[in-house]
């Protein structure tokens, strides 16, 4: 009996030792990039699945710059991000859509919305064997997502894709079931292109979709698209590329069909207007070659940071992201902010204070 008790105690002790040992193991760092003067503290961010890949990569890269800064980003959807920052369960929120009036008024204190990168919402599809990329226009897309067009070889689609054989199979629509900034952006676009869509579905971060399977997160939709032939859905362009899904070329205001790409998304960025208002968007950009369904994605932080150390790390991270981090954007199929926009974003960041004093980024960030 004594031996058994000893064994149990030994087990508990060894577990404690292991956890202590693991805590001293530092996280993997990538190469010798310059470090800042600030060590950094762990932070939690939550929100958009659309932007998850870039923030996750930035978190890893920034950890090499400030070794104490572990930016834990949880992609729970833009709605979850807004909720998290409102309830202060996260240090920053991430959303693809600007805060709407009711969300703004629910904030306990002033917030700053900082655009970080440009992204495109791809109308992604799974049609193996299609001889050319699919062309769509806003009205047709609206009909597909409303369920009034149900097969791929529908005349409306065929008209836009002369010379391409479209399969005679049902269109399986996928949409977001969670509170999503991507949904907000996409439904805003479709509502601007189709009066019937605006009336039946409307533009919001969650809507009652007439047809289709509801999935959580951009990854959920992408997963469905990968597994289901004949499916179509809206995801961040990055997800479409990394999962080998087709992305439709969308008809722009000048009549040409523009496929999402780093360049076409980037071209739309110059439309971004400060200050960020509830209806700020870069949809239907008139810039030639711009992708019509582009969007910025925002990080939401409190203007007045109560925790000095956290505030400093946060400012360092965002400053780094808006400068050095922009280089990683294109390799992940996002577009860096145009320099004029980045400057204004940095200016917005500069308004973040702690104890009444503006927080300046540590040198090297």
């Amino acid at each position: 009996m004594k031996t058994r008790r000893r064994a149990v105690v030994a087990g508990i002790v060894s577990l404690a030792v292991i956890s202590a040992a693991c805590s001293s193991k530092s996280s993997t760092s990538t190469g010798g990039t310059a470090s800042t003067t600030n060590n950094g503290v762990p932070l939690t961010g939550a929100g958009s699945t659309f932007a998850a890949p870039i923030y996750t990569q930035w978190a890893k890269d920034f950890n090499a710059v400030e070794s104490g800064a572990q930016i834990n980003y949880q992609p729970i959807g833009s709605g979850g991000g807004i909720d998290a920052i409102t309830k202060q369960t996260a240090d920053f929120g991430a959303s693809d859509a600007p805060l709407q009036t009711d969300a703004l008024s629910a904030m306990p204190a002033d917030v700053v919305q900082i655009p970080t990168v440009l992204g495109g919402l791809a109308i992604a599809y799974n049609l193996p064997g299609l001889s050319a990329p699919l062309n769509l226009d806003g009205a047709t897309a609206a009909d597909i997502f409303q369920g009034t067009i149900t097969t791929w070889n529908d005349p409306a689609i065929a008209k836009l894709n002369a010379g391409v054989t479209l399969p005679n199979s049902p269109i399986r629509v996928a949409h977001r079931s969670d509170d999503s900034g991507s949904t907000f952006v996409f439904t805003s676009y479709l509502s601007s292109q189709s009066a019937s869509f605006k009336k039946t579905v409307g533009a919001d971060s969650t809507v009652q979709w007439p047809v289709g399977a509801g999935k959580d997160g951009s990854d959920g939709v992408a997963g469905y698209l990968v597994a289901t032939e004949g499916s179509v859905g809206y995801v961040s362009y990055d997800y479409a590329v990394s999962n080998n899904l087709g992305s439709a070329a969308v008809k722009a205001s000048d009549g040409s069909f523009v496929a999402p790409s780093v360049d076409s998304i980037s071209a739309a960025g110059s439309d971004l207007k400060f200050p960020i208002a509830p209806d700020t968007n870069v949809l239907n950009s008139s810039t030639p070659g711009a992708y019509p369904i582009a969007t910025t994605t925002y990080v939401i932080v409190y203007k007045s940071q109560s925790d000095q150390a956290k505030g400093q790390t946060l400012v360092d991270f965002l400053h780094w992201g808006l400068t050095t981090g922009q280089d990683t954007a294109s390799s992940l199929n996002y577009a860096p902010l145009p320099s004029s926009i980045a400057t204004q974003a940095l200016a917005a960041l500069a308004t973040v204070t702690s104890n009444g004093q503006p927080i300046t980024p540590s040198s090297g960030a």
Partner: protein, 296 residues
Amino acid sequence: MSPVVAAGRRPLPVGLTRSRKTKDRVFTFFLLVCVALALIPLVVIAVFVIVRGTGAINTNFFTKLPPGPLDARHTGGISNAIVGSGMIVWLAVVISVPLGMATAVYLSEYGRGRIATIVRFTANTLLATPSIIAGLVIAATVVTWTHSFSAYAGSLALSILMWPVVTRATEEVLRLVPQDLREGALALGVPRWKVVLKIVIPTAGSGIVTGVMLAISRGLGETAAILLTALGNSFMNTAYGRPTSTITLDIYTWARQPQATLQELAWGGAITLMTTVLVLSITARIVSIRRQRRLA
């Protein structure tokens, strides 16, 4: 009168007629089908978890953090989740095992009357509580009040689930301790509390250990309670006050990602988890069989 006839059916025909034989054969076939249906899922699960899981295991798997979007395959791992699972379950054990045992001691040694009935009813009710409810309750209270997802919130949710498990297992084992042992000691003038502490519990010893191992097994396999409380963390975390990942949570998140890099980590996590849980269950079983042999 034999119950067969008394069952109200008409008496069986004399002799083993063809139709009776056929019905019996069909029934036997049905029984075999049942066995197959019970075993096939297990085999399928085992095969797939082993095949896809071992393909994901390498040293990186146990030592590195989860990969980022630009990382190559087989370079990432679930080191943070392994630590997280250990942390959260360990604290849950520290909370629920002493409490669970004490409750069991109360029910088995002292409990008579109304309070005991209520406590026993509560234990059975909590045992039937879905784990998502435990997570939901802690999320609505602790997480909201502290403005933070945290490892200890996860442990609290697990404790709600593990406490009745430990109580039930311990109580059953304590009940099996022969009453003569207690009465003999009491007759010799040993105070009640000493009888419980020095005689009853040690006799039940390995049975209690079995119960604890099963509770740990359950805690390690938990996902729903952790999802709403500990949230998850892509970095290594050893602070109880911060969001933490567990193996189960990572499997759940990555299984639904389209990237093959992450899906294979999910399978690797599955085989790690299954091996641990099975080792614990088998050990618990061996301990309990040895015990029964000794007591028999």
